[in-house]
């Protein structure tokens, strides 16, 4: 619930308040729950809680991207942990730099682990919209990482058992 609320609100404190309000609403509405899909039911409550809170109050500004930049390591080494840490901080910075509509879909699907349909329900948009925002957003993140070492990518299917470019140059293939 918290991850979904964070994706929708874009603010940690507000997300916490939304979860608390939602828990109260859910408890009070328990007798009206038909028992079929608790997850979908809770998502709807989180979404409605957020909408109601916004009606009462102007939305807050989104998180400060400088928080992430400050944490970014400045001198990446060769060690795998450093590669992963640098990668993570660059991915998070790229996520924060995305337009809000793309960022919230990515947070719902990749951070909160919702399906396309669940994300569509949480945002009140068609599945096709979820898909195009998600794919465009990830493409932009990927683009912003160009030239960066990707953790574990050497083990991917398709790269296994295939000569690297350097090997091919050394053998004179290229």
């Amino acid at each position: 619930m918290y991850r979904v609320a964070l994706a929708i609100t874009g603010d940690r404190a507000e997300a916490e308040d939304v979860v608390q309000d939602s828990l109260l609403r859910a408890y009070r509405a328990l007798d009206r729950f038909d028992g079929t899909s608790p997850r979908a039911w809770l998502l709807t409550i989180v979404r409605n809680t957020h909408i109601n809170r916004n009606r009462r109050r102007r939305p807050m500004l989104l998180g400060d991207p400088d928080d992430i930049n400050r944490r970014a390591p400045s001198a990446p080494g060769a060690d795998a942990q450093v590669i992963a840490a640098v990668f993570d901080s660059r991915v998070e910075a790229a996520l924060q730099a995305l337009p809000a509509d793309q960022r919230s879909v990515i947070q719902l699907v990749d951070v909160a682990a919702l399906s396309y349909q669940q994300a569509a329900d949480a945002l009140g948009v068609p599945v096709g919209t979820v898909m195009s925002r998600l794919h465009r957003g990830r493409k932009r993140i990927k683009k912003s990482l160009s030239g960066l070492a990707v953790p574990g990518v050497g083990d991917e299917p398709g790269t296994r058992d295939q000569p690297g470019i350097r090997d091919q140059i050394e053998r004179g293939d290229l």
């Binding site: 918290y2 991850r3 964070l6 940690r12 916490e16 979860v19 608390q20 828990l23 109260l24 408890y27 009070r28 990668f87 993570d88 991915v91 998070e92 996520l95 990515i106 947070q107 699907v109 990749d110 951070v111 909160a112 682990a113 399906s115 396309y116 898909m131 998600l134 794919h135 990830r138 993140i141 990927k142 990482l145 990707v150 953790p151 574990g152 990518v153 050497g154 083990d155 991917e156 299917p157 398709g158 790269t159 295939q162």
Partner: protein, 74 residues
């Protein structure tokens, strides 16, 4: 190209069985798409890690959830 369009949905487990088989087979032979898939998987894994709730927030929310029954009356 078709595989490139379906790649992200495939990695999200959101394609039908036939498409999954086709994309999976392509990724085993195409180095370019294989690397692209690897990068998308790494991005997805990295994003999943950012969702780990910090201990304090988790404790506050769990504590709140415990008190919901009495608060709901108020």
């Amino acid at each position: 190209m078709e595989v490139a369009r379906a790649l992200q949905s495939y990695l999200d487990g959101e394609v039908d069985h036939d498409t999954a088989r086709r994309v999976g087979a392509h990724l085993r032979v195409c180095k370019r798409c294989g690397m692209k898939a690897g990068t998308y998987r790494a991005i997805k894994a990295s994003l999943a890690r950012t969702g780990d709730l910090d201990a304090l927030t988790r404790r506050r929310l769990e504590e709140f959830a415990r008190r919901v029954p009495e608060q709901a009356k108020g």
